[in-house]
């Protein structure tokens, strides 16, 4: 019988999990402890629905409704002086609740505070683009679409950015294997030579630990090299020497006994 492979999450998992071990959590402090953050939270609460808010490792995390994201970010930029969108991306929770979690990492240089705004969307929903508020979201949303498949509305140029344009699949999803699915593994052979050359070129060698001492097409014995495909032999060869014996016409002869090691760099 084959080993059962989970289809939900094909990434590497820890092979040993203690049944009774409970993972500790990073403490979530309440927002009242910090003056600047509590003022910001009050200002946000007065206008929008805030599902949850806490401070974790010195940065405030705010959960909002996904439909408010443009309004919240406009409010953050104009009223609360968060002038940088450092980063935005998505986290894949499709296995757990069929949702993506989008996060926006904000930075305020005048207050020296970092804030993270998070929201959840379902797999088929789209999220509004914040590109007209922060231009840095232009490429970040393209990357989010490319890697995760999260569609963005009203984006000026929503096209694949890191993968080739005709790539099938969204790589950073948990259901996408690290080595790539079939279309990924044969992509370059199909594109350049055509599908018929798949058998001639052969599959990729994804096993990093493959070693075969009788295979002289891919491995060579230093100082006992043979041609491709012949049987390995024990006869010494001189292919690894720098120059032929007797040197080359007009080229400086390399004499090993005359080489010196410098004690100090010049």
């Amino acid at each position: 019988m084959r080993r059962y492979q989970e289809k939900d999450n094909v990434q590497n998992r820890a092979y040993y999990n203690d049944r009774f071990w409970v993972a500790p959590q990073i403490p979530k402090e309440s927002v009242e402890d910090d003056k600047v953050f509590s003022e910001d939270l009050e200002s946000l609460k007065s206008k929008f629905e805030i599902k949850e808010a806490y401070i974790q490792r010195g940065q405030m995390v705010v959960y909002i409704d996904a439909r408010d994201n443009k309004a919240v970010l406009t409010h953050l930029r104009d009223k609360l002086s968060y002038n940088f969108l450092s980063e935005m991306s998505a986290i894949d929770w499709l296995a757990k609740s069929n949702e993506f979690e989008i996060f926006y990492q904000m930075l305020s240089t005048s207050k020296r505070k970092r804030l993270r705004v998070k929201c959840f969307i379902k797999e088929n929903e789209a999220i509004e683009s914040v590109e007209d508020i922060y231009k840095s979201a232009n490429w970040a949303e393209r990357e989010m679409y490319d890697m995760m498949g999260v569609k963005v509305n009203n984006h000026p140029y929503l096209k694949r950015i890191l993968m080739p344009d005709d790539w099938q699949g969204h790589p950073l999803r948990k259901t996408y294997p690290l080595h790539g699915d079939e279309a990924a593994q044969w992509y370059e052979v199909d594109k350049i030579f055509g599908k018929d050359y798949r058998e001639i070129i052969g599959p990729e060698n994804r096993d990093a630990a493959y070693v075969n001492e009788r295979d002289t097409k891919h491995f060579a014995r230093i100082k006992h090299e043979v041609k491709f495909g012949e049987k390995p032999s024990k006869e010494p060869t001189d292919l690894m020497d720098y120059q032929e014996e007797g040197g080359v016409f007009l080229i400086k002869k390399l004499k090993k006994d005359e080489s010196i090691t410098l004690k100090e760099r010049r």
């Binding site: 790539g180 370059e188 350049i192 060698n205 080359v248």
Partner: protein, 169 residues
């Protein structure tokens, strides 16, 4: 690396006899290898360092040229991704005969540490390679050693090989 069904033993077991014309031509070709700047990732920095003043590349007669039509050696330095694979094949086809390829670094040899969906596992799935150079990143002296080995190999070959008329398609 790829598993090929191609016969590599092209000379059918006969020894290669070099005439004087061969020797002179190959001596000239080996000592003036003009390299195409194909630095893709970190190994490109080591390639640049080997062309700089401490590990000089000009003493081998090697100058880095930008155009494939003017170069006869392609040093693939760095990771080849699947998005880029098409272009390296194009540039290889645009180079004029005779041409040689050095695959520098583990990413170009076999995909290296990037055993992922977007990396070509070895540049020899796309283009034929003459010298494989291990390392991550290989030192500049190692690159120069590889060039010296290639020079030795060139001097051993015959100058007038069976040339098919080259077409891009």
């Amino acid at each position: 690396m790829a598993q090929h069904q191609v016969r590599y033993l092209q000379e059918s077991g006969l020894p290669v006899v070099l005439t004087t014309a061969d020797k002179i031509l190959q001596w000239g070709r080996s000592n003036s290898l003009w390299a195409l700047t194909y630095g893709l990732a970190c190994c490109a920095i080591e390639m640049m360092a080997s062309g700089a003043s401490r590990y000089d590349f000009d003493r081998f007669g090697t100058i880095f040229r930008a155009s494939p039509r003017q170069a006869d050696l392609m040093i693939v330095a760095g990771t080849l991704t699947k998005k880029h694979a098409e272009f390296i094949r194009r540039l290889y086809d645009q180079m004029t005969e005779p041409k040689w390829v050095i695959s520098m670094g583990s990413c170009a040899n076999t995909g290296g540490m990037f055993n992922t969906y977007a990396t070509v596992q070895g540049v020899d799935r796309i283009i034929p390679v003459d010298i494989y150079l291990p390392g991550c990143a290989p030192r500049p002296e190692t690159l120069q050693y590889a060039v010296m080995m290639l020079q030795k190999q060139i001097r051993r070959e015959s100058a007038f090989q069976k040339l098919k008329p080259k077409r891009l398609v």
